[in-house]
């Protein structure tokens, strides 16, 4: 098997002083005023005062042709930076990467789409930007249009499209790119679940044709479904390069080892946000025996043990525990509990236990969303932990399985009681009424 991507000692640094302490771009005036100081510093060799942040350091791996490889890791682990280097959007600071074959990069859905242009014009524009030749796009035009199911609206400006049509068209262009190596970033994070299924299906299709797929995601469920091998990144370094099961186990282990307290992920607004008037100081998920774990079987009780502390006085405390879909990241269910409605002074703390008894959620991975605020519903976020803990993993085969539940056909999220009555069944057999009753 021959190599598709060879990455050797790839590193990328950003200078923090320029990125954080100063504005990302300066006006000419600032530059001119700063010039004497800059020159002085440089002359004295003090330019290293700038803090260097290594988004990637010494990353080395090989990808073989036809492999579907997942890159996993928490936010800020360097996944996107790696993808940006491989797709040549930005340059590495050190190291080298060799790519054998035509690359198609899908870093977002609808790259280059312009809302004022018609569907037809956008197909050509986006196709050309993604690296297709004009003749190639023309040849596949009809296919793209029918895949996107927008035949009627092909000469309408895309700003008049529904968001569903827009995403379908955008994805259709990318799906017909036919690269030898496909680099994909969290495209699955957008769109409805039907669309995401289509995306995953197309990617499996691409992989099935012996092409290489390089899939960056923290959607572990999608990674599990698609990839046979995973690279786990942490702080810009390769922590594990192993078969998906092994890499994901290590990933989840690492997540579990990380204790959530008032400071965890505080600099990462995607995972932790809020004013900070109140903070979760401890989060754990456990079973009824008090043993901490994130894997449960259908029908088991999931217990959340949550502690908090107030930094400012508040009118009561309410906590929301919610489960997101592992695929679409939509919230699929939530529970809100008011701890107290009383006025509380700053410095107050507490600890509560919230049970989700006999959880009849279908097997899958469910990232957790935890929210704490005043008892009076307000628009303000106080502390939100969004996908900061490991996801809840629900497995089949609990104590009391539904008789009509087939784990091989896990459609939907919930198992709800259902009942069938055959009203009429015409055939050669005698007419008898069947009644099947299902109890939860």
């Amino acid at each position: 098997m021959s190599t598709a991507i060879r990455v050797d000692g790839l590193s990328k640094s950003y200078r923090i002083a320029r990125a954080l302490k100063r504005q990302p771009y300066r006006t000419l005036q600032e530059e001119v005023i700063a010039l004497p100081r800059t020159l002085w510093k440089r002359a004295r060799g003090k330019s290293e005062m700038l803090e260097t942040f290594w988004a990637l350091s010494d990353v080395t791996f090989d990808v073989n042709e036809g492999e579907v490889i997942g890159i996993i890791g928490r936010n800020g682990a360097g996944k996107s930076t790696l993808l940006k280097i491989l797709s040549r959007i930005t340059e590495p600071t050190h190291g080298r990467a060799e790519i054998y074959g035509r690359v198609g990069a899908l870093l977002e859905v609808g790259t280059g789409f312009h809302p004022e242009l018609t569907g037809r014009e956008n197909i050509f524009l986006s196709g050309a930007i993604l690296g297709m030749r004009r003749t190639e796009i023309a040849r596949r035009f009809d296919e793209i249009v029918s895949f996107a199911e927008v035949e009627q609206f092909i000469d309408t400006p895309t700003k008049r499209y529904s968001s569903g049509m827009y995403t379908r068209l955008a994805f259709a262009v990318a799906a017909h790119l036919e690269p030898e190596i496909l680099l994909v970033d969290e495209v699955l994070a957008v769109g409805d679940s039907a669309f995401q299924k289509k995306c995953l299906g197309k990617m499996e299709d691409v992989a099935g044709h012996g092409r290489t797929v390089f899939f960056v995601s923290h959607n572990t469920q999608a990674v599990r479904q698609l990839c046979n091998r995973c690279i786990l990144l942490e702080h810009g370094r390769v922590v594990s390069d192993a078969p998906t099961d092994v890499a994901l186990a290590i990933y989840n282990q690492r997540l579990r080892e990380m204790r959530v307290d008032a400071e965890t992920g505080i600099n990462n607004p995607e995972n932790r946000r809020g004013s900070g008037a109140i903070r979760f100081t401890g989060v754990s998920v456990e079973d009824l025996n008090g043993e901490e774990r994130y894997g449960f079987k259908m029908g088991e009780t999931v217990r959340f043990r949550l502690s908090y502390q107030l930094n400012e006085p508040m009118r009561g405390v309410a906590i929301v525990v919610a489960l997101r879909s592992g695929l679409s990241r939509e919230i699929v269910t939530s529970a809100r509990h008011v701890v107290t409605g009383d006025q509380l002074p700053a410095g107050s703390r507490g600890c509560v236990v919230i049970d989700l008894p006999e959880i009849y959620i279908r097997p899958g991975e469910y990232p957790l969303y935890l929210h704490i605020a005043e008892a009076v519903p307000t628009k303000t976020n106080y502390d939100v932990l969004d996908d900061l803990t490991p996801p809840l993993v629900i497995g089949a085969g609990g104590r009391r399985m539904h008789p009509n539940f087939d784990p091989a056909q896990p459609l939907g999220v919930f198992s709800i009681p259902s009942r069938m009555t055959v009203v009429e069944s015409i055939g050669e057999t005698a007419q008898t009424n069947h009644e099947t009753k299902v109890n939860v």
Binding site: Y25, E91, P92, T93, I99, A128
Partner: protein
């Protein structure tokens, strides 16, 4: 970024060479014309997008391309030709002025669009790879459409005033090329600088206004006193504006000296701009 394009040589694995090598680039890099050529479709589609977008949802649509220079030329004719009685080498003032306005509008349009182009298309830059040069170059080509329309109007004006073209009209493409190279060269600098210093967003309208006043658009270069003529010729726009007048009307105060200065300027600013652009484009995605 150094990208070595090599045709993947069949299935033989032992001599297979990478399609792309990604390494940090050091120092100066020249334009990779071969790569630019493989992306020629993108260049044309970007130019076409510019043209289409400009007149979307406008009532008059492409008529703007005609109205704009025509009204400007009319005002110049009334103010400078009628009232100020500036010389036009014995030609109808409106034709005399329109020839220059058409070319100047092209020049200004390239600078204006290209100067801001990298910011406008920042989403592309951060999401997909292609030669970044395609973005400002797209403006160079898209503005040509407007110029073509303006030249058609010029032809009509010449017909109305009974001016028949001579062999000199054949040199018109050369003057247009000169304007294009200078405009592109300058906009390579401006667009690249604009990524880091947003000052140029504010400087651009001002720069264009001052530059137009200092160039023979509304008036002929003939009104500049002889002893200042060479200094005046240091403005590279003088060459292609007066050159266009010479090509169309045969009457102009253009000299070889002025043309040589402008051509040298064009080469220096274009080559310099290209190297500068290539040097800073590596950090576009991180800065923009």
């Amino acid at each position: 970024m150094s990208a070595t394009a090599a045709s993947s040589s069949g299935t033989d694995q032992t001599i297979r060479r990478p399609t792309v090598v990604i390494e940090p680039t050091r120092g100066w890099a020249a334009i990779d014309f071969r790569e630019l050529w493989t992306y020629r479709d993108l260049l044309m589609i970007l130019a076409a997008r510019d043209v289409k977008l400009r007149y979307k949802q406008t009532a008059l649509g492409v008529a703007w391309v005609v109205i704009q220079p025509l009204i400007a030329a009319l005002i110049f004719t009334v103010m400078f030709g009628r009232f100020a009685k500036l010389p036009s080498n014995g030609q109808p003032y409106i034709v005399f002025v329109f020839a220059a306005v058409a070319l100047w509008n092209y020049f200004a349009a390239v600078l204006q669009r290209a100067g801001n182009s990298l910011i406008t298309d920042s989403r592309l830059i951060t999401k997909v790879y292609f030669p970044r040069l395609a973005i400002p170059l797209g403006s160079t080509f898209s503005a040509l459409i407007d110029l073509a329309v303006a030249l058609a109007v010029l032809a009509v004006l010449m017909g109305i005033y009974g001016i028949s073209p001579t062999w000199r009209i054949l040199t018109l493409p050369l003057w247009i090329a000169l304007a294009a190279v200078i405009a592109t060269g300058v906009s390579l600098w401006l667009s690249a600088l604009n990524v880091r210093y947003r000052d140029f967003v504010h400087a651009m309208p001002f720069l264009l206004q001052v530059w137009m006043l200092a160039s023979p658009v509304a008036y002929g270069a003939a009104i500049v006193p002889e002893r200042w003529r060479l200094l005046y010729g240091l403005n590279p726009a003088v060459a292609f504006l007066e050159g266009a007048r010479w090509a169309v009307l045969g009457a102009s105060s253009i000299t070889t000296g002025i043309v040589v200065v402008a051509v040298l300027f064009a080469i220096v600013v274009f080559v310099g701009g290209a190297f500068f652009f290539r040097r800073v484009e590596r950090s576009f995605a991180d800065t923009v």
